[in-house]
């Protein structure tokens, strides 16, 4: 299955992935409209320290602890993509407790949010990958 892979060697810490993610998931038709005067809450996050940086987002594990742990059934695996039914999610954060990558974060509504590979937004293909200027984030079959 195609997954997002991150190679920290090429990460510039430019944080563009976060902004493209936030925009892609905003439902807005322009980045300015979506992100002007907004503190973004992206599904991909850069970790950086001492010249090293890399982006972290859902790894879409084959044995997803989050999905197995989800108390509501809001997290499910569809064609390998771990998706969240925000309507079902009650915000118990059991998934945050179990995700070994720390890739699941609360959304503004209290329900959790996570990378869904932009399958369900207007981007259609991972926006972070498209927006990465240095191929530090790639979307490929390995």
């Amino acid at each position: 299955m195609k997954r997002i892979y991150v190679n920290e060697k090429w990460c510039l810490g430019c944080h563009l992935c976060e902004y493209y993610c936030a925009f892609a998931n905003s439902g807005k038709d322009s980045m300015v409209k979506a992100l002007k005067n907004v503190t973004i809450n992206p599904r991909i996050r850069i970790e950086e320290r001492g010249g090293i940086s890399f982006a972290v987002s859902c790894r879409h594990c084959e044995e997803p602890l989050c999905t197995k742990s989800c108390i509501t059934g809001a997290l499910s695996v569809n064609d390998g993509v771990i998706q969240i039914d925000k309507d079902k999610c009650v915000g118990c954060y059991t998934c945050i407790l179990t995700c070994p990558y720390g890739a699941i974060v609360p959304s503004e509504t209290g329900a959790i949010q996570k990378c869904e590979l932009c399958m369900n937004n207007s981007s259609g293909t991972p926006a972070c990958v498209a927006g990465c200027p240095n191929k530090a984030i790639v979307f490929e079959e390995k």
Binding site: W10, L12, L16, Y20, F23, P133
Partner: protein
């Protein structure tokens, strides 16, 4: 702060309606021209620090940025231009030689743009490169004067060593040091994929790149940096650099700050020490000395590798080339005055040397008149900007071309001409690891391959139009060129007729 009379040449224009304060401009500007003011909750900038490299412009996700030439101006004066005034201020402030990089940007004639290419009509057919084979493979090296036969009457292979190029385009010399590791890796990988060559420049060959040896030309320059027996034998050919188009008659200087661990090892000089290439090779004070070096290198490489001699295009280039052709070189590389550099004194870069078009025409004609054109191949560089330039160069008489500035642009270079500062925001002309990282060779090499592949397609199209299906038949085929807006003298040096003739 003392007054320096220097004012920003460019202005950073930010569309505040579009700026979302993502700060990518701030994070990506090595010149620190942008910053975020938390109090004002706004991005701020200092245009004086901007070198107009467009890194911020290209990465700004909302297209909120542009860089414009400032309209701030000195009082109009056709003689004392703003550039002259600013340079005087600069030198009055520093007492130093002005430094610049990349090629001569001045308004001298560009002869490529004054030559037009022929096409077939009626009496002979154009050839469609999509239907028929169209050959751009080139062999560089001396050709045998006389075919020899063995006792059975079969042809003996007395061909001197040749470089086989799948495309008539090579990447010219850029040292590791002047450009980054990732830039070198991109060039090396691209050369391999394209079936052509890149050139180490005078900085030696990094141990990681020996594996690309079959597609590498190793250079021996006046500083002899990184030159040893294994190095000489690592590449497919050896190039002696006598001169460089951007700075004929001038040596090189890589500041110690750029001589970091890797470069120090590759160049075989102490870390942090300045790498100074002298103006002359101190063992070459005339042509006969050059001949000795040519043969020394041939000895060292067992006569298995062609030796290239690279010279800058200067006034008597034809005579120099003739001497070199008779001095044992297999290939002569001529670098025109628009050729790039990582750093050169501005006055030299902008005022010394001659256009490559004229140099090439003169050299090719001279060698033919002397009947020694086939003793050497001719490679020209120094601002080959497009496939049309390549076609014109070959029609004038080149066997192949060297590209460097075009290659760097494929890698992201925006020709801001600030290489000498070492803060290249595109990860090309820098050794700062956090900047070098910005050039991912996976992307870079592919862009180089794309560029050369695209050019090669275009070359084939143009050749097909002329009814030529092999690049050999284009070489020196000056009937395929016509001048436009050129004087009789220029036409005669170029050896072409005027359009309409």
């Amino acid at each position: 702060m003392a007054i320096d009379f220097l004012y920003p040449e460019y202005e950073i224009k930010r569309d505040r309606d579009k700026c979302i304060c993502c700060r990518v401009c701030e994070r990506q500007c090595a010149n620190e021209a942008h910053w975020y003011d938390a109090e004002l909750e706004m991005m701020m900038c200092d245009s004086a620090k901007c070198v107009n490299c467009h890194r911020c412009v290209s990465l700004c996700p909302t297209r909120a940025l542009k860089i414009v030439k400032t309209d701030h101006t000195f009082k109009e004066n056709a003689n004392w231009t703003g550039e002259h005034i600013a340079e005087i201020y600069r030198q009055a402030g520093t007492g130093g030689v002005l430094l610049s990089s990349m090629g001569n940007p001045k308004k001298y004639p560009i002869y490529w743009d004054k030559m037009l290419i022929n096409a077939s009509q009626v009496t002979n057919p154009p050839i469609d490169p999509l239907r028929e084979p169209m050959e751009t493979k080139v062999f560089l090296g001396a050709k045998p004067g006389k075919v020899e036969f063995n006792s059975k009457g079969e042809i003996k292979n007395n061909l001197p060593p040749q470089l086989k190029l799948e495309v008539p385009i090579m990447f010219s010399a850029m040292s590791y040091g002047s450009i980054s590791y990732n830039a070198h890796e991109s060039l090396a990988r691209a050369a391999k994929e394209l079936g052509t060559f890149y050139n180490t420049g005078e900085g030696g060959l990094h141990e990681d790149f020996y594996k690309y040896g079959a597609n590498t030309i190793v250079q021996v320059a006046s500083g002899r940096f990184g030159v040893h027996k294994d190095y000489l034998n690592a590449g497919a050919a050896i190039e002696i650099k006598m001169g460089q188009g951007a700075k004929p008659g001038i040596g090189g200087h890589l500041p110690g700050i750029k001589v970091r661990e890797d470069i120090s090892r590759t160049r075989m000089i102490p870390e942090g020490s300045d790498a100074i290439s002298p103006a002359p090779h101190h063992d070459i004070y005339s042509i006969e000395d050059l001949r000795q070096l040519v043969y020394s290198l041939k000895e060292a490489s067992d006569y298995k590798k062609p030796v290239i001699v690279k010279i800058a295009a200067v006034h008597n280039v034809a005579a120099i080339a003739s001497g070199i052709a008779r001095g044992g070189a297999d290939i002569i590389a001529i670098d025109g005055y628009r050729g790039g550099t990582g750093a050169a004194p501005t006055r030299i870069r902008d005022n010394v040397g001659i256009p490559i078009e004229l140099a090439l025409a003169a050299v090719d004609q001279r060698l033919r008149e002397e009947g020694i054109r086939n003793n050497v191949s001719i490679v020209v560089g120094g601002s080959i900007r497009s496939s049309a330039d390549v076609v014109k160069a070959i029609a004038l008489g080149a066997d192949a071309v060297y590209i460097a500035t075009s290659a760097l642009m494929a890698l992201g270079c925006h020709l801001c001409r600030s290489c000498q500062k070492g803060n290249c925001n595109w990860g090309i002309a820098t050794q700062r690891p956090e900047l070098v990282r910005r050039l991912n060779p996976d992307i870079g090499y592919k862009r180089l391959v794309n560029l050369v592949t695209a050019w090669n397609h275009e070359i084939k199209e143009i050749m097909g139009g002329m009814g030529i299906n092999s690049i050999e038949s284009l070489r020196g085929n000056r009937l395929m060129l016509r001048g436009i807006g050129l004087t009789e003298k220029e036409l005669s040096i170029l050896g072409i007729k005027h359009a309409g003739e």
